[in-house]
Symmetry: C2
Amino acid sequence: MMPNRTEYEDGRIIPLTLSAQVADRLRNWVLLGDLAPGEVLVERVLSEKLGVSRTPMREALQMLGREGLIAITPNRRPRVASPGLSDILELLEVHRLVEAHGARLAAKQISQAALTDLQRLLDEMELSGTRRGELEFFELDMAFHRQIVEASGNATLIETHSHLNARLYRTRFLSTQTISGRPLMQAQHTQILEALRARDADRAQARVEEHLHQLGRNITAIFNESKQGKGTGPQPGKTS
Amino acid sequence: MMPNRTEYEDGRIIPLTLSAQVADRLRNWVLLGDLAPGEVLVERVLSEKLGVSRTPMREALQMLGREGLIAITPNRRPRVASPGLSDILELLEVHRLVEAHGARLAAKQISQAALTDLQRLLDEMELSGTRRGELEFFELDMAFHRQIVEASGNATLIETHSHLNARLYRTRFLSTQTISGRPLMQAQHTQILEALRARDADRAQARVEEHLHQLGRNITAIFNESKQGKGTGPQPGKTS
DNA sequence: TACTGTCATAGTGTATACCAAATCTGCTCA
DNA sequence: TGAGCAGATTTGGTATACACTATGACAGTA
């Protein structure tokens, strides 16, 4: 996902603490589904598996808990979060609000280099959609959205967006699997980029909103399918 | 602040973990200024002072770090955050976005009881403005804003708003001290409530935006004063 | 004076061991 | 089948130890 092993601070490079590294690994496991929603996590087992002591493992679990990726209840074993559809739609609404605003800000000041980069991502997605694996398409998609918000230049907005996105990550990944929706998504991506190029803040905002509304519809469809299908929908168990 | 000592979960009441209790106390110290911005925190000293071991203290510090109230860097002692004006304005922009959207949602579905409660808060603020202490006015103000967002019914929105607000807490408290601005603020509060009563989502959103823009101006003024005044502006030291 | 390098001290990050209290699991019995 | 119980697990918290990093004071140098 993110090749996070170091961290900046006034130019010096400081290695991440062990807790943070463990959190990174766990996060990837959750996001990619190696740890299934609802699955129970046992501190000692995990810490042995990763060869670290309980202390950094506890801290890592706390981190993911605060990010909403796992549900932590006092005295109980943590579980991988498995939000219901309504939780996800609530999340998505705020996420949409934030990202759309990011696009609005970005339209006013995005650099030429960033625009070129976004175009490159779109091109690669075009190829990826037909030829390559789904994970790659997904990651390009994520990068596209992230870069737009980063172009807003508002650190708080970027951080908030990234937190919300982390919680939606798994769901969005599943959504990407449904290849049928891709052409529409791609067309919308193009429209967003056009609006940014035109420095049209209103349009950029509207296009992003539209796009994420569409995402909401896709997710709803997937959720309902898996629910009636073989009952393998997300388990109960709250999202902390 | 919040009388948090217990927590719900399917009806049973479970006491907060020690870490959470410690975090609550530290948070209050930071928000009320008992721990000054930029001040250095030492794990061992704090844990002794509160009579707990390092483990829960570390967890509490991590929590506040995530909330943006203290800045944590590996191997270094945590510091109470002391954001610069630009940081605060960025925060406020996102905060405004979230709260305004909350008001929009709230307008559509706020209960009669909640409206009555908001009116009560306004009335008390009116009294408080002339007769009582400033801390009380401030807390009523905070409660007013919080309740509006809570009326939105979107848990993610509420949570995000509360996080952002926590980071702005200290600054907003200082802003409240400037009594000269109160009549305007109060008038705006009334307008917001009127819009909610009228179930006018657009107007509610607009009024909240206006109000928080005004807050931004107040904060900017205060910040500049204190900076040129006696140089007692916020210290350097980043916000994590 | 201003700068640079050294060094002791202080403080965090991590490992370990241990205990109390809560939870979980499987069994028994109705 | 389901309620209730007891023992095994597991977490929350304490205490301690130690390696490694950062910090600040000091001495030496230009």
